[in-house]
């Protein structure tokens, strides 16, 4: 788990140093989707081979739906008072 944090911090540091190297950064930008495709492909393979996942797939889908509904409802509930607060007349310019 610590390797994830180390990779991330290392990347941020190097990214900060490479800020001016636009061509190198755009190459990295183009590589990233490929890596994500590969990872999701591998994730698909291991999930497809996982009997526990296959047996419970409809239950897992329902849980996923409920958790996203909870997260969306919670964040929208807080956004309503924040919207009122930020759009008070004296704050009009900020929004």
């Amino acid at each position: 788990m610590i390797y994830v944090t180390i990779s991330l911090l290392l990347g941020i540091g190097i990214g900060f140093l490479l800020k001016k190297r636009k061509t190198l950064l755009s190459t990295i930008d183009r590589l990233t989707p490929g890596i994500i495709f590969a990872l999701l492909f591998f994730l698909g393979i291991s999930l497809g081979m996982n009997e526990k996942v296959i047996a419970n797939i409809s239950k897992l889908g329902l849980y996923a739906l409920l958790i996203s509904a909870g997260g969306i409802a919670g964040s929208i509930c807080l956004s309503i008072p924040l919207y009122r607060y930020l759009s008070r007349p004296e704050d009009k310019r900020t929004l």
Binding site: M1, Y3, V4, T5, S7, L8, L10, G11, I12, G13, I14, G15, F16, K19, I28, D29, T32, P33, I36, F37, A38, L39, L40, F41, F42, L43, G44, I45, S46, L47, G48, M49, N50, K52, V53, I57, K59, L60, G61, Y63, A64, L65, L66, I67, S68, G70, G71, I72, G74, S75, I76, L78, S79, I80, Y83, R84, Y85, D91, T94, L95
Partner: protein, 201 residues
Amino acid sequence: MKSSVFIILFFIIGFLLGRFSLIPERIARLQIELWILYALIFFVGIGIGSNMDALKLVKRMHVKIVLVPVSIIVGTLIGAGLVSMLLSDISLIQGLAVGSGFGYYSLSSVIISKLHGETLGLVALISNLIREVITLLFAGVFARYFGKLAPIACGGATSMDSTLPIITKACGKEYAIISVFSGMVLTFLVPFLLPLLLSIG
């Protein structure tokens, strides 16, 4: 949007190959993915380090803009936490971890499946994908009934790219910059927050 379709396509092809045992067991069990994950996280880090535009936006706008992503984080965690307490199979930390993807399904599903387990990884993939799809479908409705920050809140991390066009259409151009800022903060936060949460659970 186009890349989302590709990502899901790759996932489904992999899933079918795994399901019908078309991949030799030995190859599928290699720990190559873990190293690809570190490489991805490293590249995500480079993206964050080289792109500090989010900080410049705060300077240009009022500091209050920070309240937008903060409220989305708090609201999402409360909502996802409450739901997970009702579900007997999902612990609070697991529910919070799934919610902490904020719609960034590709990264959150891979991190969760590697650091915690494949089953929860699948829940994270579906759950965060649903968040993006709901934003795409209902941004207009949310803006009308709950105010113009609601579509940005629903979009979470996706409000900086895949759902930005629909949010801009629903809320108006003046909200595009808030949408990008909020999405950036949440996108940057995912690789920090997830390992932290999963190390507790």
